[in-house]
């Protein structure tokens, strides 16, 4: 079953058409399409609402970025004369800061939606903010994405085994450790790892994302260097992430283990391992995929503290630099990307889940 998009005109008329023919009737014949349309409508509303709140939040902040920019320019070019009104007006226009708040908002949204343009960045003027963000995005996605996948796989496997062998010592240990550590910030583990491996033993680097003596590019040296530098920050995320997935997988597994169909499977004489993978795990990996999808969406938030500690050139570090320099366009851009990715991840999951699992029915 695929969610077909209805004719564009038809959606506008949905309120006044008669139930016998037209859109209502079509929708009642295609409940999945109706669900998809409603879900997509909610997505648009949420996306618009979140972007709007973020926009006004940052615009209502005190602080004048133009003054900061002019000061920077004056320092950089040893340009001491007072900035003329024309220059200020020109910059205001370029940064989308002219006119009242409403015009600013409309211009911003227009540029964002029609051209994907976030406006010039202040830290790297005149580079557009989207370029600055795109430069740091691969680092964040690489580091957090790979760590998230590893943590998920490890967590689901260990969690499933812990649930399966409940009552055993190893299982109780894994569960209690998970309860104690699943909410500990990645940053704490990162700090301890840095202390042990970088400062005390001196075996792994503590800062940056790759060896600055190696030219970036697709070469074995560079890739090896990136892996070596990414090991500590990645490990800190994998450790804590695994614990929280162990806990949630176990919580999903245990109620399933009491189900009748597992007793039946055992009575049929199936092997334990087969029951675990084909019967028990199959029923709990779906919610875990949902949760994983959402957590992948949150990756685009970057991890400010871990990236800061390792001076990793990802989104989090860009964000902190941008905030320190009042770079509104970049800050807002990072926030917008985070909002977009989380909402899109949830939307895709909601649309795909009914196809994956016949029991999922959001529509009536």
């Amino acid at each position: 079953m695929t969610a077909e998009a209805p004719p564009a005109v038809a959606t506008d008329e949905s309120q006044d058409s008669a139930p016998v023919s037209g859109v209502r009737a079509w929708l009642s014949r295609h409940p999945l399409a109706g669900y998809a349309i409603r879900r997509f409508g909610l997505y648009v509303v949420e996306l618009w609402g979140a972007l709007t709140i973020a926009f006004f939040f940052f615009r209502l902040m005190p602080g004048d970025p133009i003054q900061t920019l002019i000061q920077t320019l004056q320092q950089n070019y040893i340009y001491n004369a007072q900035a003329s009104t024309e220059i200020i007006t020109r910059y205001r226009h370029e940064f989308g800061l002219d006119g009242n708040l409403l015009t600013q908002y409309l211009t911003y949204m227009q540029k964002l939606i029609l051209h994907g343009d976030l406006g010039p960045s202040l830290i790297n003027y005149p580079t557009p903010a989207q370029t600055v963000i795109l430069r740091s995005l691969p680092w964040t996605i690489g580091l957090l994405g790979i760590s998230a996948v590893m943590a998920w796989i490890l967590g689901v496997v260990i969690g499933a085994i812990a649930g399966w062998r409940r009552g055993k010592f190893g299982s109780a240990l894994a569960t209690n450790l998970s309860i104690a550590l699943s909410h500990v910030p990645y940053f704490f583990v990162a700090l301890i790892l840095v202390y042990i491996f970088a400062y005390s033993m001196g075996v792994l680097p503590a800062r940056s994302a790759y060896d600055s003596n190696i030219n970036p590019g697709i070469s074995p040296d560079f890739i090896g260097s990136v892996l070596k530098y990414g090991l500590l920050p990645g490990l800190s995320i994998v450790i804590i992430g695994t614990f929280s997935w162990i806990l949630s997988t176990r919580m999903l597994m245990v109620p399933i283990l009491g189900e009748d169909y597992l007793v039946y499977a055992e009575a049929k004489g199936l092997k334990g391992w087969r029951i675990l993978t084909r019967y028990a795990l199959r029923n709990c990996y779906l919610p875990q995929i949902t949760a994983f999808g959402i957590s992948l969406g949150f990756i685009f938030n970057g991890n400010v503290l871990v990236e800061q500690l390792f001076n990793y050139p990802g989104l989090g570090t860009t964000l902190v630099t941008a905030i320190q320099q009042l770079d509104f366009n970049t800050i807002l851009g990072v926030t917008d990307i985070a909002i977009f990715s989380v909402l899109t991840a949830v939307l895709l999951l909601d649309l795909v889940l009914p196809l994956l699992d016949p029991r999922v029915k959001y529509w009536k």
Binding site: F58, L181, P185, P255, V304, L319, I323, T335, I339
Partner: protein, 291 residues
């Protein structure tokens, strides 16, 4: 009174909940007596004063955890900072739980378009990344007090509490005893306070614990970036100090290991309370802990 015995019975039945609460109670007690402990360490003078002792002393009988770059006693600082961290958790936890509960009750109990509007709004706030906004807020709001920081953190944390509690209100609203109350009594407020609220206490507890946890970590995060409120030392600031002054390279491990250990203990305790409460009130999860 009946409520109290019910609460006590719940705690006795869940080892996990009890453990979490005991650890929390010990930490709160240390925080409450922190002025006494600090002055006992100082023995007449203020151990947290700048240049109270020699700088960078290693842990020993005089200074259990050594001294920092200003010659302050690290143990005394940690004790005092613990109480600050707990305060922020309490402030933000209370504010966001109260707001969350009110929104959840209005949305869940009234239903209809009010619920739609409130839930959509809550959903929108949930996807806005909170940490950038928090950093931005405190970068521009210089010289903020601890209470104001708590308030700022609550702005972003109440939606979590609201979401959890609303779904519970929705399921409770249709129970027969609520219908019965609605037939006999007329006022919504009375039904909410006498019928719904007592049944939702565990979920409110979960909401409070999660908000407090988020707030404590939020402040730690702000401090580590160097944007915390002025004039107070919390556990995050000690960690920030340790990183900033190179305590990692100097081998002054107590400066960051002890705050991290304390915060980990605190997070573990709050999480135990959370999971304990969920296990007690969700029969499907009972025994998940393998007890």
């Amino acid at each position: 009174m009946r409520l109290l015995t019910a609460v006590l019975r719940t705690i006795r039945n869940s080892r996990r909940l009890a453990t979490g609460l005991v650890i929390l109670a010990v930490l709160v007690l240390v925080a409450l007596f922190s002025p006494l402990i600090v002055s006992a360490i100082g023995g007449g003078k203020d151990p947290i004063e700048l240049a109270a002792y020699d700088k960078w002393q290693v842990p020993g009988p005089g200074h259990l955890l050594g001294t920092d770059q200003f010659g302050r006693d690290v143990f005394a600082m940690v004790v005092k900072a613990l109480s600050v961290s707990l305060q922020i958790g309490a402030i933000a936890g209370v504010i966001s739980t109260v707001v969350g509960v009110i929104v959840a009750f209005v949305a869940g109990y009234k239903g209809g378009w009010i619920d739609n509007v409130l839930s959509t709004f809550t959903g929108i706030l949930l996807v806005i990344p909170t940490f950038p906004l928090l950093i931005a807020l405190s970068a521009y709001a210089k010289n903020v007090s601890l209470f104001q920081v708590g308030l700022m953190i609550s702005i972003f944390s109440w939606p979590f509490a609201a979401k959890t509690i609303r779904s519970q209100v929705l399921s409770l609203r249709t129970r027969p005893y609520v219908d019965l109350a609605r037939v006999t009594k007329s006022r919504d407020l009375e039904i909410i306070v006498t019928e719904l609220l007592p049944n939702l206490l565990p979920f409110i507890g979960v909401g409070f614990a999660s908000s407090a946890l988020g707030a404590i970590f939020g402040l730690v995060g702000l401090e580590i970036i160097g944007l915390g409120p002025g004039g107070v030392i919390d556990l995050g600031q000690i960690i920030f100090n340790a990183i900033g002054t190179g305590a990692l390279t100097l081998g002054a491990w107590p400066m960051f290991v002890v705050p991290i250990a304390l915060l980990t203990l605190l997070f573990a305790a709050l999480n135990m309370v959370n999971i304990g409460l969920e296990e007690v009130y969700n029969p499907r999860l009972r025994g998940v802990a393998g007890e």
